[in-house]
Symmetry: C2
Subunit: 355 residues, 2 copies
């Protein structure tokens, strides 16, 4: 009676492997990747999706647009430096910025749990509008649903966004080239640690706040200066390591990076040690990597250093080869001890519900 005509095709993730969704399927690591690459993306298969970027790029008449969508399930809803609302707007603004688009319009969908204090929702909505205004985007459509007590978790938010691409360059993993310099926009690890700190009841020397910030202004500054950007990626769920691996796998690229120059604040490093976390995999909400031709490296750093969100920008690696038929893509890191190791996606769950 129900729509079960689809039962004929075998599930592409063998039941012997994972017959149920686990928290790690949402962690941004190997299991998330498997879910998307084995089940979701092959079924929805199309050229726009196949670029595997933070958003999709589509053309209408003469207008080239980026389109992106994100769900937010972070716990706790409020944390040092932000809340689920600031995160929801920033997340979609940043996904559009990573496509080289100027964010213009957004949707906001709310799934509210019965019993949520009205005042909490009101605070979140005001935060969303404040961030949207700062980023110059308008929230123009949306939806609100309510689920029974115990069937949700306060507030889940889904945002999607449309931005306009006003330049001819294609910014995505498939555009990276051998020899590209990889620039990291600043210190890493603050968002994840800010949240884990609250969850674990830790107090740090010097407050650790999320780095949550809209990156569209800084990206626009690079575009205005005609930097020939090949790829951008914000370092959210899964952190710097996962972002680089995803790009390497999409482009079948060999990437080498250095551990030494990566900026990590002392208290963040300390918290990571206490919590047993590798800062390379900890989520950020205001940091990104840019892949640019070596000849544009100096100018890229100059522009980033002049912007408050890129003051600590630094080159952390380069692209060695791209598109070698035999390669599945690989990231190797020269450690501070001088040894070299392959960086892989985490197979388990490092930080559940971080965004």
């Amino acid at each position: 009676m129900a729509d079960q005509t689809d039962m004929t095709l075998q599930c592409p993730i063998p039941i012997t492997e994972h017959d149920q969704i686990q928290l790690a399927h949402g962690g941004g690591g190997r299991l998330t990747h498997q879910l998307i690459e084995k089940m979701i993306a092959p079924e929805f298969d199309n050229p726009m999706l196949n670029v595997r970027h933070d958003g999709a790029v589509v053309s209408f008449d003469r207008a080239k647009l980026a389109f992106s969508a994100d769900s937010f399930v972070v716990q706790p809803l409020f944390f040092p430096g932000g809340n689920i609302g600031t995160l929801a707007v920033t997340g979609t603004v940043n996904d559009l910025a990573m496509c080289g688009a100027r964010p213009l319009y957004m949707s906001a969908g709310f799934i509210l749990e019965e019993g949520l204090p009205m005042q909490t929702l009101w605070q979140v909505i005001q935060s969303m509008q404040r961030v949207a205004k700062e980023a110059g985007v308008h929230i123009i459509t949306g939806d609100t649903k309510v689920v029974d007590r115990g069937k949700g978790d306060g507030i889940f938010i889904h945002t999607s966004g449309i931005g306009i691409i006003e330049h001819p360059i294609s910014i995505n993993p498939l555009s990276i080239q051998a020899g590209d310099a990889i620039v990291l926009s600043g210190d890493i690890g603050r968002h994840g640690i800010a949240i884990m700190g609250v969850r674990e009841g830790l107090t740090f020397e010097g407050a650790i706040e999320t780095d949550c910030a809209c990156l569209s202004g800084l990206v626009q500054a690079l575009l205005d200066a005609h930097i020939e950007i090949h790829c951008l990626r914000d370092l959210t769920r899964g952190g710097l390591a996962t972002a680089l691996i995803e790009i390497a796998e999409a482009a079948r690229a060999e990437i080498s990076m250095n551990e030494a120059p990566i900026p990590i604040r002392e208290n963040v490093r300390g918290a990571c040690e206490i919590l047993g976390l590798d800062p390379l995999y900890v989520a950020n909400e205001g940091r990104f990597v840019a892949f640019v031709p070596e000849k544009h490296l100096v100018k890229t750093l100059e522009i980033m250093h002049a912007h408050p969100l890129g003051a600590d920008a630094i080159e952390i690696g380069k692209v060695d080869t791209v598109g070698q038929a035999a390669s599945q893509g690989m990231v190797t890191m020269k450690t501070q001890l001088g040894t070299s190791r392959v960086i892989d996606m985490l197979s388990g769950e490092q930080l559940p519900r971080i965004c």
Copy 2:
């Protein structure tokens, strides 16, 4: 430390009234309306949002686009004639169609509960792709999050969509005019009853399946015939009555309708009586009303009757006045007994989690 700078402004829904979210805030009736009109829309305030339609319309260069978003929390996930996946794609396709747009691209965001059978997700994803393919839309971006067991309810889906508007007419509540005929595309009540039937363990004489269907083809047929459509609205959460009231309130219009011609199947009518539901307020997922000039009524009906989804289309009322300063908008219905009554939004919750 958290983002609490916004605490200064008083919550626009007085705490004395509703200090917590209730299920009825998601039911599509008066409380949903209050939440949107008093809190969300004034805060996100902008001209596109203020049209109060199923989607927003924006222009890029020469391209005019519709942009819409929806969240889906239906329970059970599978029901006669469909599942949460078919609903999620249909819902956004229909919102775009109601803007007079040709749906082209969609996003899909999943919030999965830990422990969800992988096979269930796989079925839902296949259903989504099947409906998307039939409707000619591509799912080109998305997101997947997982929440702990007991913090979600199997699957929540959020979809957003972009469609292109290829004609010069403005289809929204503010375009309706005095004298417009109101055409209902077919029988009402099947979606809500299909779901309530499963929940309440009822069996009907003759299965009652959801009417869930993509309306973009039928709308396109009307546009191709140059019907001067003033407004379209699909009859989802809150049903026919709520759709008409929303339009009347947005346009400050006085609308009169007749109960007699409204098609309701015998078994749906019987189920409504057993369940104590008014079919006028029961959700549909494949039905809509069209506001067209009286002079185009005959042609409108002709085109709709030629389409499988409009075979039972019928005129159910007309617009008496529009934009009278003293009017807040009103819908009156001539009942089958010959009396006349004002139709109002439900203040409570008729059908929780119907979509």
